[in-house]
């Protein structure tokens, strides 16, 4: 009588047990570390320590060492004064205001800026944002990411967060696009291709484009409002999980479970790290620099033609009543369509002029993170999703911004800080 499939398997197992001799397997240090990083009891503290380590490196390497230590000095003490002197500080000339220094009003008088972040010219802020701040932040982040990837820690992190991510219709591997998006949303959106169903891809792309700030944005936020970073990340994490949970309930489709094979830990290879770092950073610069320069140009032109004032007058009452932010936030919001890092940088100018309270700064930064993906991510969403999904993403995005932005304002009113 022929054997069934399972009977055959059982026979195979029986024969292999009788004929194959298995030597005692040694539990190596690598195995012990692998187990420690996967089991929740020890894995979660390890994950927290790893993330804290990444953050410390990010702040010290990108923020303190390069941006504050070298770049701020280079741009503010040398580059800006050089351009101002070369062009005779001519604030009456529109081209000078567009390309070098837009100046700002102090006691009713237009005065020259003393730093590149406030100058807002194409050749000053336009270069300072990508090369002075963002480049180092992105470099630090991608270096850490490449190390974690090559060591083999990411799959373990995926196993650890699997249970939480299932609550929002995703599985553990969704941590990879999320993590990648912390560098730049563009590869993060591309990485969603590895998710199983259209529903999972839709959920992931929508959540990434709203609640995951890119390295450029994080870098400039850390430079401007370091004391608010914890609150900003907490607010974004609550939004990511909260709206993920709601979207999972209302979006039709399946979110199947997967079984994964976790690879062993290994030594990272220098060649791999360097080439990953080079490819990712150079791609980032190719996308970022033209958009930052274009953003400076468009915002500068809108100021010069009076279009920005008109928009501020039209949108100001809504921004003030619903989100609790001043009408001056309109210009960063417009710049944010092109580059979020540039937009956050513009908030820095408003802060220095004393236009905003701390809570308004916090709300504005969160709003800038969630209100719209940058142009490059937006274009990729168009490519990766079909029309129905794309419109769904945009509708969810608008609803999330209005609800969450309003909610933050409401919490501020209740706490009497708004």
């Amino acid at each position: 009588m022929p054997l069934s499939v399972d009977e055959r398997w059982n026979l195979i197992e029986k024969i292999s047990k009788q004929t194959v001799e298995f030597g005692a397997r040694k539990h190596t240090l690598k195995d012990a570390i692998a187990e420690l990083t996967v089991k929740p009891l020890t894995g979660i503290p390890v994950a927290i320590a790893v993330l804290y380590g990444i953050w410390s490196f990010f702040v010290d390497f990108a923020g303190t060492l390069f941006t504050d230590g070298f770049m701020v000095r280079l741009f503010d003490e040398h580059w800006l004064p050089f351009l101002q002197n070369a062009f005779h500080n001519n604030l009456d000339n529109w081209a000078y205001r567009l390309f070098i220094d837009a100046g700002h009003i102090e006691n009713g008088v237009l005065v020259a800026s003393d730093n590149c972040l406030e100058a807002f010219g194409v050749l000053t802020s336009g270069f300072f944002v990508p090369f002075g701040v963002v480049l180092w932040a992105v470099l630090a982040f991608y270096l850490m990411f490449a190390l974690l990837e090559d060591v083999g820690y990411l799959p373990r992190l995926a196993v650890l967060v699997d249970t939480v991510l299932h609550k929002i219709g995703l599985h553990g591997y969704a941590i990879v696009p999320t993590f990648l998006s912390l560098g730049c949303n563009v590869p993060g959106v591309t990485a969603t291709r590895a998710l199983e169903t259209r529903k999972q891809r839709f959920l992931m792309i929508t959540l990434l484009s709203v609640f995951v700030p890119c390295g450029a944005q994080i870098g400039i936020m850390q430079d401007l409002v370091p004391e608010l970073m914890g609150w900003i990340f907490l607010t974004l994490a609550i939004g990511y999980l909260g709206f993920g949970f709601i979207l999972n309930k209302i979006v039709p489709g399946k979110s199947p479970e997967i079984i994964m094979d976790v690879p062993p830990y290994r030594m990272p290879m220098m060649k791999n790290i360097v080439s990953k770092l080079w490819v990712r950073t150079s791609r980032f610069l190719l996308v970022a620099v033209p958009f930052v320069l274009l953003g400076c140009l468009i915002v500068g032109l809108m100021y010069l033609t009076g279009a920005m004032d008109w928009l501020a007058t039209v949108l100001g009452p809504f921004l003030m009543s619903w989100f609790g932010v001043p009408e001056e936030t309109v210009s960063p919001l417009i710049a944010g369509f092109l580059r979020k890092d540039l937009a956050v940088g513009m908030l820095g100018g408003l802060m220095e002029q004393g236009i905003m309270t701390t809570f308004q700064v916090f709300t504005s930064v969160v709003l800038l993170c969630i209100y719209f993906p940058c142009l490059a991510t937006f274009a990729l969403m168009l490519k990766e999703e079909n029309w129905k999904e794309f419109l769904g993403s945009i509708a969810s995005l608008v609803a999330m911004v209005l609800v969450y932005g309003g909610l933050i304002h409401l919490v501020g009113i209740m706490l009497e800080v708004a």
Binding site: S4, V5, D6, W9, N10, I12, E13, S16, F22, V38, E149, L154, P155, V159, D162, H166, H171, Y173, V176, P177, L180, T190, A191, R193, A194, E196, P256, E257, I258, I259, M260, D261, V262, P263, N272, S275, K276, V279, R280
Partner: protein, 92 residues
């Protein structure tokens, strides 16, 4: 329920291959052989094996840790696998 059915039921819940091997008291090599069989029988599919789909065309593919790059293997139940599981559940 047969061992294949039990395995399909467990795979439906998700997890890692190491957990699965420990729960079923199998060596990982035996489990991998059974996974291979279930792949060929059409009960499972390997996410990284879908040529021409996903992000496998990416120039960073060789260096990438995303599942589609083929470095981290992930398996999911197919419709056929689900039907087989249901059949075995009813039979039980």
């Amino acid at each position: 329920m047969t061992t294949t059915g039990e395995l399909l039921r467990r795979i439906e819940k998700g997890g890692t291959l190491d957990e699965l091997a420990a729960e079923f008291g199998m060596g990982k090599s035996v489990l991998m052989a059974r996974i291979e069989f279930m792949l060929r029988a059409g009960y499972l599919y390997e996410i990284s094996s879908r040529e021409g789909q996903g992000c496998m065309g990416c120039p960073m593919c060789e260096m990438c840790s995303v599942p589609g790059s083929g470095k981290m293997k992930t398996y999911v139940l197919t419709e056929k696998g689900r039907k087989e599981l249901l059949k075995q559940k009813i039979r039980r």
